[in-house]
């Protein structure tokens, strides 16, 4: 199976190279040199790169996801900054940190992790293709809607909460981090 996949990969690569001369750079991400793709990922994993004193990291640790974000991934993580936690109703964040609330906490955190590596320009392109909005699948099984407001990318969650991307494209060895200013809550499920 691996051999077939690899030979497909080689074939695809060969096609890509062969076609290179005929195509203009429209296919390349943003027209940037390919050096950006390879060497520019940070040497660290996302787990090592997140501010270890931040509330987001503390939450990830409480949910057992800190090790996950040190794994191969790749993941796109929307890191909500400390100020975002301050916007929550009083006591919510503290509640989440209790062992009994692990279900809820994990649901919230996996709502901030997307599969693969998605850069800001990728979201931008998808928004353009989607005539103003793009839907992003999260690891938690839900979706976020991305739109543009002013010059910024805005992500809206299932409840309608909006988060603005404040700092994008922090590259790491196993993915990329975007900082956002509000926490995005997943859709509520019926709970026992």
């Amino acid at each position: 199976m691996t051999r077939t996949v690899l030979s497909l990969g080689v074939a695809a690569a060969a096609l890509a190279i062969a076609g290179c001369g005929d195509r203009d750079n429209a296919g390349q991400s943003g027209g940037a040199p390919s050096g950006e793709a390879k060497g520019a990922e940070g040497g660290q994993t996302i787990a090592a790169g997140i501010n270890q004193q931040s509330r987001f990291f503390a939450a990830a640790k409480a949910a057992g996801l800190d090790a996950t974000l040190g794994g191969p991934g790749p993941y796109t993580v929307l890191v909500a900054d400390d100020a975002a936690f301050g916007k929550l109703p009083a006591g919510t964040a503290d509640n989440w940190m209790k062992p009994e609330s692990r279900a809820q906490l994990t649901g919230v955190l996996t709502n901030h992790i997307l599969p693969g590596t998605i850069l800001a320009e990728d979201i931008g392109k998808a928004i353009d293709n989607g005539k103003g909005k793009a839907v992003l699948a999260t690891m938690g099984g839900g979706t976020l809607t991305a739109t543009r407001e002013g010059g910024n990318i805005v992500l809206t969650d299932a409840a309608g909460t909006k988060a603005t991307v404040t700092k994008a494209d922090e590259k790491h060895s196993n993915g990329v981090v975007h900082h956002i200013d509000t926490l995005l809550v997943p859709a509520q499920r019926a709970e026992g």
Binding site: T106, I118, A126, V135, A137, G142, A190, G192
Partner: protein
């Protein structure tokens, strides 16, 4: 071993069927056809009994000879099989692999396990009883009680100690029956029981009617299609497989999005290594860890306690598959940086990353056309 079961059985009957008159070891008698009389020494290998509500239960009886019982049991079962109410409830006993037992519920919380001399096991799937499984009703009674001395040193597996950290007010010790005990340090009283397994709902128990409308979240439904024998519901962070006829939970799968993966006990139905192929070289079972896949994640499991101690990798619930439409939420290019100069979107082909693989997508039809590269 049998003695233990029988003793437990007596205890279980006492708890589970207080209205039933107890006739001594191994027997139970109920009223109004609720319980089933199981006798030892009955030559008939099996019998089909009717219960109220038209429910047919296949009861195996034995005469103490396990092997002969099984043989006779099987031939009776053949005859019974044409009636599809007979549900092949395989409880893979991961602690004793020989015992893949055909289990029948006699009444709430009371079981019969053919081939074990008709031992009645109270409220616990076979095999877990020997590991100290306590029916939830009994476990709850420990709340407010003094922590038994034997449990003082039952530390949690290393991977969980970070999650349940002893502090000045409380300590956490590994309890029985899929529970963690939180103990007040000053009084040594068990302050609360934290369920390690789906809020105490385990295979073999009746699925609560209160949850009957809790459907599986949309992204996971493709994994759990209802059949004529089973249907699936979601609660407490688990997907429960429920047998249509008996209403019993047959299996439970932790959904990471529900958050009960970490710190939970791996369900018995996960005894086999099942990691997706693209991840097997990365996550192979070894002496320190086992790895098991459930939609949402590859879990790292402590082999001695079966507790999930880590999430090795997050996976999306609905993956991409060749020939299927690109699922919602994948309109954005997400190929890892190292592969972008090889696989980039054009009008003829898109590339999307999912669960260790890069897929090619036809932009016009939005169908996933090929698995191009495994990159894990």
């Amino acid at each position: 071993m049998t003695k233990l079961f029988l003793a437990a059985g007596v205890a279980a009957l006492a708890i589970a069927a207080p209205a039933a008159a107890e006739k001594g070891k191994g027997q139970g008698k109920g009223n109004k056809g609720q319980a089933v009389k199981v006798e030892r020494g009955n030559k008939a290998a099996a019998k089909i009994e009717r219960r109220g509500g038209g429910q047919k239960i296949f009861v195996a009886r034995g005469n103490g000879n396990a092997k002969a019982d099984r043989k006779a049991f099987r031939s009776e079962r053949q005859a019974f099989k044409s009636d599809r109410k007979d549900r092949d409830f395989k409880v893979a006993d991961r602690f004793d692999r020989k015992d893949i037992a055909r289990v029948r519920r006699l009444e709430d919380g009371v079981w019969s396990v053919p081939g074990r001399g008709n031992a009645i096991i109270g409220g616990c799937p076979p095999g877990l009883m020997s590991k100290g499984c306590i029916p939830p009703g009994q476990a709850k009674k420990l709340e407010g009680q003094l922590l038994p001395a034997a449990y003082r040193n039952r530390m949690l597996p290393l991977g969980l100690r970070d999650l349940f950290r002893d502090d000045d007010d409380y300590m956490y010790r590994l309890g029985d029956g899929g529970y963690l005990y939180r103990v007040d340090r000053r009084t040594s009283l068990v302050d609360s029981l934290l369920p390690l397994l789906g809020a105490g709902l385990m295979p073999g128990q009746v699925f609560p009617s209160a949850y009957s409308n809790y459907m599986v979240p949309a992204p996971y439904q493709a994994f759990y299609p209802s059949t004529s024998d089973d249907y699936y519901r979601f609660a407490n962070g688990y997907v429960y497989e429920v047998d249509r006829d008996s209403g019993l939970i047959e299996s439970m799968i932790p959904l990471l999005a529900g958050g009960y993966g970490m710190g939970q006990m791996l369900p018995v139905s996960y005894s086999a290594y099942n990691v997706p192929y693209q991840y097997r070289s990365l996550y192979a079972d070894n002496d320190d860890y086992m790895y098991r896949y459930a939609p949402g994640a590859i879990y790292q499991v402590d082999p001695t306690t079966s507790l999930i101690t880590g999430i090795a990798s997050l996976l999306t619930g609905n993956g991409l598959s060749v020939g299927q439409p690109l699922p919602m939420g994948y309109s954005t290019y997400n190929v890892p940086l190292a592969y972008r100069d090889q696989y980039y979107d054009t009008n003829d082909a898109w590339y999307r990353y999912n669960n260790g693989n890069i897929y090619q997508v036809d932009p016009t039809t939005q169908l996933v056309t090929a698995l191009i590269r495994a990159i894990v």
